[in-house]
């Protein structure tokens, strides 16, 4: 008995000292969490996002930080695994006591993890995950306040763009090839809806599992159904397998799909077979505005690369941190409720890489990116370039969210 009670005292003392050092540390810096996959098939997106966020934090700290304090980042690798994302969310909230979190690349991880932020009343900014459901999980009227925000082009925006491009090019018989994850299947549903809105019905809808090595059956079914365009919803390595199978069949068919076709793991492993595929992009690595030029140069200098592994993720990561910083400054507080309120009523214009944010969020609208912002990108010479260069020329280069 005596032994256990003394053990308990020690434990309590230890816990107290940890809590106290934690608290005193929290007073010196403003802690922001980052959750994303830094290893595995989605790593290119996760790492670029993280590096974008870091650039923004360096700039903020150089300019004096927020509320007179420096910003520090707590990075956690969720490996694109739902269960790991859930653990990390609880660790960031309870142990690290972050003020807010940015990140989430994978829709599944985002949907599984963000309820902890909602319950703890801490804002979370989805900067890459695109599932349409992400910002609707806690929307009114079921929930009084929604703590989930996003600055990425969601799947319904992307599918609408793809469907429109299909129609514009005069294709009438698309085939959809998607993976069996949350991302692939929710995206496929959005895509079918968007095509139906344009009066187009896919002639084939095919599926594969992550890790499948041979997509001949899927490609051949699409070809045999007489498809005149192949639409994809999947991630890098399997997308490469898909276009490899299409090319193997000697089938000359245009390929379009969600923004993941810009992933370095797709472009590099598909090689020549990936040339010419098209996808929606919120950001293309081109200095089309002064802000973009500065961002690209800063990224290249900081990380010693020429090609950003996932330019979209890097730009959206950078912007997500700017949005959050503006809200913390406006709230003059690190209280989650006040930051959420500030995000919903941002008074200043924020010049980001993707766009200039002028009242990007409201109490009912938590999506900063609208359908007019992304442009179609095209893989050419191992890089993503605008499919229609005119899209990013002159005053069209900066596309802003229309006023509500």
């Amino acid at each position: 008995m005596k032994k256990t009670s003394s053990k308990k005292v020690w434990l309590a003392a230890a816990a107290l000292s940890v809590a106290m050092t934690g608290a005193s540390y929290a007073q010196q810096t403003i802690k922001i969490g980052i959750s994303g996959p830094f290893t595995g098939g989605s790593a290119a997106m996760g790492v670029s996002m993280r590096d974008g966020v870091k650039l923004a934090v360096q700039e903020i700290n150089k300019a004096g930080g927020l509320l007179g304090k420096q910003v520090s980042l707590v990075e956690r690798d969720d490996e694109a695994k739902n269960e790991l994302g859930v653990q990390i969310a609880q660790e960031l909230i309870n142990k690290e006591q972050v003020v807010a979190t940015v990140g989430f690349i994978n829709t599944g991880v985002s949907l599984a993890s963000q309820r902890f932020y909602q319950e703890a009343e801490i804002p979370v900014m989805n900067n890459v995950a695109t599932g349409t459901l992400v910002t609707q999980q806690f929307k009114a009227p079921d929930h009084k306040f929604n703590y989930v925000f996003r600055n990425a082009a969601n799947d319904s925006i992307q599918s609408a763009m793809i469907a429109e491009a299909v129609k514009k090019a005069g294709h009438t018989k698309p085939a959809i090839i998607a993976d069996s994850t949350n991302y692939g299947q929710l995206g496929r549903a959005d895509l079918e809806k968007a095509l139906a809105a344009n009066g187009i019905k896919p002639v084939a809808v095919e599926k594969f599992n992550i890790g499948d090595t041979d997509m001949t059956a899927q490609a051949l079914r699409a070809k045999d159904a007489g498809a005149d365009v192949v639409l994809t919803y999947a991630i890098g390595p399997e997308l490469a397998q898909t276009v490899n199978a299409v090319v193997k069949l000697g089938w000359k068919v245009p390929v379009m799909g969600s923004w993941t076709l810009s992933m370095a793991s797709f472009i590099d492993s598909a090689g020549a077979n990936g040339e010419g595929v098209m996808m929606p992009q919120t950001f293309i690595q081109l200095p089309s505005t002064p802000k973009r030029k500065a961002f690209i140069e800063a990224y290249q200098a900081a990380y010693k690369v020429d090609r950003i592994p996932s330019p979209v993720s890097a730009a959206q990561g950078y912007d997500s941190m700017l949005l959050l910083a503006a809200a913390i400054n406006q709230a003059k507080s690190t209280d989650g409720r006040k930051i959420r309120e500030a995000l919903e009523n941002l008074g200043t214009k924020i010049e980001g890489v993707v766009t200039t944010y002028d009242k990007p969020f409201s109490a009912t609208d938590h999506e900063a990116i609208t359908s007019n912002i992304p442009v179609l990108g095209l893989v050419k010479g191992g890089r993503v370039v605008p499919a229609n260069p005119a899209d990013l020329e002159g005053d069209k280069a900066l596309r802003v969210k229309p006023k509500a």
Binding site: G41, E79, G211, A217, Q218, A240, K248, G250, S269
Partner: protein
């Protein structure tokens, strides 16, 4: 316009046949990979009635070692094809060594103590260790394996085949043929066969059965490593590439029967071809289902496998 509707049904029949053969060919190349891995299960099961549950990881390590060697040789200004050929003996040697380590650490002790499940746990544990090792050395990202042959498809009688797919089939057959020849013609091979037939009797005849079992593990990992370098150029290489393949090959070993080398090859082909045919003719979402149904059927109707001999265990 549409020839098939205007009195030329032959065109339709021709494309249908062409599709069938296209799917058949891709099923055969996938099935051959399953077959080679399952062949590794069969090798050790024959001599020791145990198998390596870390076979998928042996495949991963083989592919990753191959990748490093190939990239090193390409760095030495060698052509991809020459680099690949030169890398093969090193990959084989690595496979032999890795298999011996598995037997030595995981299986020998369990067999000495006549433990029924010890080797299962030990080989699974070693598999996990090897996977973590691979993650630490090569990282968790999928890597591209330079293809030794052209990536442009060949058209043979209307069917498009990647040269690497042909190499998979030929390489797998050559490996299995070499092992069969070794077993039948050489004195050492006869020792392996004798140990497979009756280990106690073979031991009484002066055969070092424990060495034979180590050798069969070495050969088993070699076949997995070969499967790894064969499949890597048409997919991507990475620490997790072997997990799904190892499991599929296990199903193949059960369908074909663990006591027959011929059986696992046919089992591999059956599974690969059913997967492709189901994917094409029924639905790509149900690709894996018929293989699993077949597995259940075999287990309930012919537990020793389609080509296996039912063994009577005397207690």
């Amino acid at each position: 316009m549409d020839l098939s509707l205007r009195g030329f049904p032959l065109v339709r029949v021709f494309t249908t046949m062409q599709n069938f053969f296209q799917i058949l060919v891709s099923g055969i190349s996938v099935g051959m990979i399953y077959g080679v891995i399952a062949f590794g299960y069969q090798l050790t099961f024959a001599t020791s009635k145990t198998l390596n549950f870390g076979q998928g990881e042996a495949l991963t390590l083989g592919a990753l070692v191959g990748l490093t060697v190939v990239n090193f040789l390409i760095g030495m200004k060698l052509g991809t094809f020459a680099a690949y050929l030169l890398a093969l003996p090193l990959v084989f040697a690595f496979g032999l060594a890795q298999g011996s380590v598995v037997e030595w650490l995981g299986v020998r002790q369990a067999m000495k103590t006549k433990s029924e499940a010890g080797w299962i746990m030990a080989t699974i544990a070693l598999g996990i260790i090897f996977k973590n090792l691979a993650e630490n050395i090569w990282g968790k990202d999928p890597l591209k394996f330079p293809s030794p042959l052209s990536e442009n498809p060949l058209t043979i009688m209307g069917v498009n085949i990647r040269p690497m797919e042909i190499a998979i089939v030929l390489g797998a057959l050559a490996m299995m043929l070499a092992v069969e020849l070794f077993n039948r013609r050489s004195i050492y091979g006869k020792a392996v066969v004798a140990t497979s037939n009756d280990r106690d009797a073979a031991g009484l005849m002066g055969i070092n059965t424990s060495l034979v079992i180590t050798f069969s593990y070495a050969l088993s990992s070699l076949s997995a490593a070969l499967a790894g370098v064969l499949v890597a150029p048409i997919t991507l290489t990475g620490a997790s590439m072997g997990a799904a393949l190892g499991l599929k090959a296990f199903a193949v070993a059960i369908i074909g029967g663990l006591s027959s080398g011929m059986g696992v090859v046919v089992g591999g082909l059956i599974l690969g071809i059913t997967e492709s045919l189901t994917g094409f003719y029924i639905d790509t979402g149900y690709k894996d289902v018929p293989g699993l149904i077949l597995l259940l059927l075999v287990l309930s109707l012919k537990p020793a496998g389609l080509f296996g001999k039912a063994a009577i265990k005397k207690v």
